[in-house]
């Protein structure tokens, strides 16, 4: 519940909903924390037994178990965050990460001085490819000459690997790295701060992911976090909860949250780095995406087509 990321964000969404409706934890809504996979089913069963009408599974790891219990308890409503689930009494909540990644790509393209960007992915998978494709498309939309180097650490929890990758990238003239790699990204931040500590004049940046990673980038009076691709799980959770409360639970649907719902955001905490021009440019592209002028690629194939059409 306090992982500063996904789970915390989801819980905050529920708490906000509870506050607005005069409910509190244990009376109206609650959470169950799973320390390992074996805890999922007992936790889900406990919540069902306590007669909660709507149960959220946070994270794709719950997919199978949630699918199972959704079938056993057709009268309870379920929602799965970050993956799809097939049941009439369950809703899938995913995010348009590619669009947020596109926008931070735009920001990076405006900020870079070397025209070389880096992308560090956790595990090479369709989900992270979405981040990668969006980021490259965003950068190339601003300036097709920008090169983006892509590296996958093959782990979401290996900061040492993240650090070596970042070190290599910064050495090769890359000045901005976007990471979509969970804990591995700590190594990226660490490397950037290390370089900054030794040479405060050096202009290098990191782009954070999932939440505003401003705090991770602080080094003395500097901050290496240019911006972050923020995924508002709380917004999605609250939104679905409200629908369920009003008797309009979107069972069986696959909801994709994005700019329209304000569930995807570009952080502007670092005001020194995110100048007005950059923010304006990001907003300009945001408009274009919302108007349907730009179709942001989600896969490697779509990205290829996108770049060819530039």
């Amino acid at each position: 519940m306090d992982d500063k990321s996904f789970n915390q964000s989801a819980w905050e969404g529920l708490q906000e909903w509870g506050k607005e409706n005069g409910l509190e934890k244990g009376n109206g809504f609650d959470y169950a924390q799973s320390n390992e996979k074996a805890d999922y089913i007992p936790n889900l069963n406990r919540l069902i037994r306590d007669e909660y009408d709507l149960i959220f599974g946070i994270g794709f790891e719950l997919k199978e178990d949630l699918q199972k219990v959704a079938k056993q308890y057709p009268d309870t409503h379920f929602a799965l965050v970050d993956d799809t689930i097939e049941a009439d009494n369950a809703v899938s909540i995913t995010f348009k990460e590619h669009i947020g990644s596109f926008l931070v790509g735009v920001a990076a393209a405006q900020k870079t001085e070397t025209n070389k960007l880096g992308f560090v992915g956790g595990v090479d998978s369709p989900l992270i490819n979405k981040f990668e494709s969006g980021f490259i498309a965003g950068a190339k939309s601003v300036n097709p000459d920008i090169e983006v180097e892509v590296e996958y650490a093959e782990s979401f929890g290996d900061p040492a690997k993240g650090k070596i990758i970042a070190s290599n990238m910064y050495n090769n003239g890359i000045d901005i790295i976007y990471h979509a790699s969970g804990g591995t990204g700590n190594g990226v931040f660490n490397e950037a701060k290390d370089i900054k500590q030794n040479d405060p004049e050096r202009k290098i940046w990191v782009i954070g992911v999932d939440r505003d990673q401003h705090e991770e980038g602080q080094i003395g009076d500097h901050n290496v976090t240019l911006t972050s691709m923020v995924k508002r799980v709380d917004v999605a959770v609250k939104n679905v909860t409200e629908q369920a409360m009003n008797g309009e639970f979107p069972g069986g649907e696959k909801l994709e949250f994005g700019l329209e719902e304000d569930a995807i955001n570009v952080a502007t905490t670092n005001e020194d780095a995110m100048t007005k021009e950059i923010v304006d440019s990001v907003n300009e592209w945001k408009e274009k995406i919302l108007n349907g002028d730009v179709e942001v690629p989600q896969t490697h194939e779509e990205l290829k087509g996108f770049i060819d059409s530039l």
């Binding site: 306090d2 500063k4 900061p159 650090k163 070596i164 190594g187 660490n190 602080q218």
Partner: protein, 254 residues
């Protein structure tokens, strides 16, 4: 606060924590593997629990005073060697290397080291010669705990910059592998550790090395493990553990 204070504190805590292991395996003759695994889990549990108590969340904030890479004065200016070995390095890396030499010196060149090895090879012979086997073994375990605490804190203060349940994942077990790979010799273990590091970084830097550029990533990713297995199986010959390794000493038994 100074990062040096942090690693000294971590060294002390590591030493104190390891006493549990010494009590269990030396005094109560518990199976060392069981006791070791239990302490491994206990340490993680306590670490996360205390983090929650002190910080009110599952992970600490980013460390504000970590170790930064520096140039070593004078040595960094030597042509060729300077940039390779003495520019942009962590001082702690050299401390680790120096510790390996100290360990070698202590183990093989001092009376204390001879006694230490004796209680691991043939405790009864050592006992007959008037060495207090239990005391020596306690000291050995506590020293290893101190070094473990030191290693872990350096990792947190250089690479990760914070502590959470997934900060230390498997590095300790890599260290065990390095000991065996290095044939139970401090300098051998150091060589093995450097070799592991080289193998791990290959997959990252391969893009810039002409010969390795066309090798598929997956091969480079598994390279450290494959090389380790090959090395253990063929190149280094048998790695013989100290004879009394893992065996509790019972006074008077034959």
């Amino acid at each position: 606060m100074d990062p040096w204070v942090s690693i000294i504190v971590a060294t002390f805590i590591g030493a104190i924590f390891s006493i549990i292991h010494a009590v269990a395996s030396v005094s109560f003759r518990a199976n060392q593997v069981v006791s070791g695994v239990a302490i491994n889990m206990l340490a993680l549990g306590i670490g996360v629990y205390l983090t929650k108590q002190w910080y009110g969340k599952g992970q600490t904030d980013m460390v504000s005073e970590p170790f930064f890479r520096t140039d070593i004065p004078i040595l960094a200016d030597i042509p060729i060697i300077g940039p390779i070995f003495f520019q942009g390095i962590y001082v702690t890396s050299y401390i680790a290397i120096i510790f390996a030499f100290i360990a070698w010196y202590v183990l093989y060149r001092t009376p204390f080291g001879l006694r230490l090895r004796a209680v691991g090879e043939h405790p009864m012979a050592a006992d007959t010669n008037g060495i207090n086997v239990y005391r020596m073994r306690y000291i050995a375990v506590i020293l290893s705990g101190a070094l473990g605490g030191l290693g872990g804190s350096v990792f947190a203060l250089t690479i990760v910059s914070n502590f959470s349940h997934s900060t230390i994942v498997g590095q300790g077990f890599m260290a065990l592998a390095a000991v065996i790979f290095g044939k139970w010799h401090p300098l051998g273990a150091m060589g093995a550790a450097l070799f592991f590091g080289l193998a791990q970084s290959l997959s990252v830097v391969s893009g810039g090395i002409p010969v390795l550029q066309d090798v598929p990533q997956v091969f480079l990713l598994i390279a450290p493990y494959v090389l380790t297995i090959l090395a253990l199986a063929g190149f280094i010959g048998r790695a013989e553990a100290p004879r009394a390794n893992g065996e509790p000493y019972i006074k008077g038994s034959r």
